[in-house]
């Protein structure tokens, strides 16, 4: 279980290789990558700046990972979140979950993303091609997505 906050790009294959090496009880690896899209609210994006709260970010992400480990059968997991200036097409976030079975890997990966989106202290500022800056608003659907994990399983 580990978390990293960095400006540099990440390499999915290398990260998966590190998480799975020497553990042949892993039968399923789920990953999620969030990327900067080229337009937002009808405006073309020039860049996206990601700000975070150093110290709190790492604590929150570790807490989210611990919760995932308590809920799902996980051999290993990883969260990498980039900060600083990014361009359309750049990767923002990587989540990898490794489990004996695919249901746990998938569910843990979704759980981590849902919680990360509503708890981890990151903020996105978009700059459109005309130079206008705009802080991204939080989306109610992200809260809804996170809330589903508080309910008893169907």
């Amino acid at each position: 279980m580990s978390v990293r906050v960095q400006n540099e790009p990440f390499d999915v294959s290398a990260e998966i290789a590190k998480l799975t090496v020497d553990d042949t009880t892993i039968g399923a690896v789920a990953t999620f990558i969030g990327k900067v899209r080229g337009s937002a609210h009808g405006a073309n994006l020039q860049s996206m700046t990601l700000e975070h709260y150093p110290g709190m970010t790492e604590t929150e992400l570790q807490d989210i990972e611990h919760q995932a480990s308590a809920r799902f059968r996980l051999n290993a997991s990883l969260i990498v979140h980039r900060v600083g200036d990014l361009k359309p097409g750049d990767d923002i976030v990587l989540v990898v979950t490794c489990s004996p079975h695919r249901q746990d890997a998938f569910q843990a990966c979704e759980f981590l993303m849902d919680y990360l989106k509503t708890r981890a202290p990151f903020w996105k500022k978009e700059t459109s091609v005309d130079g206008a800056g705009h802080w991204v608003d939080a989306r109610a659907c992200d809260d809804t997505a996170a809330d589903r994990w508080s309910k008893p399983s169907p």
Partner: protein, 93 residues
């Protein structure tokens, strides 16, 4: 003897994203009087400091708080928190 509620104490305030931009401050150390017991007390006091702070905290639903790097509610008591952070709802991922 409840020292945190009767004495003044120094705390670090941090502001992120548009709260940092609107207040013009990213970090500051302030001395809190004994009458500031909760997050909401602190926000009310901050709003009295000038138009930038008044504007930054004008819409209560859009400001989140962390006490010593842990999410907290406006009604939360500050108690012994040394670092109090204000920021918009998070938008990572």
């Amino acid at each position: 003897m409840s020292e945190t509620n009767t004495e003044t104490r120094d705390v670090t305030l941090r502001y992120f994203a548009w709260l940092r931009e609107k207040t013009g401050v990213s970090s500051e150390v302030v001395t809190l009087g004994p009458n500031i017991a909760t997050v909401q007390d602190l926000i009310d006091w901050l709003k009295s400091r000038g138009p930038e702070f008044e504007a930054a905290f004008a819409s209560p639903g859009t400001v989140r708080v962390a006490l010593d790097k842990v999410h907290a509610k406006p009604a939360a008591a500050l108690v012994t928190a040394r670092e109090i952070a204000f920021f918009p709802p998070v938008t990572g991922g």
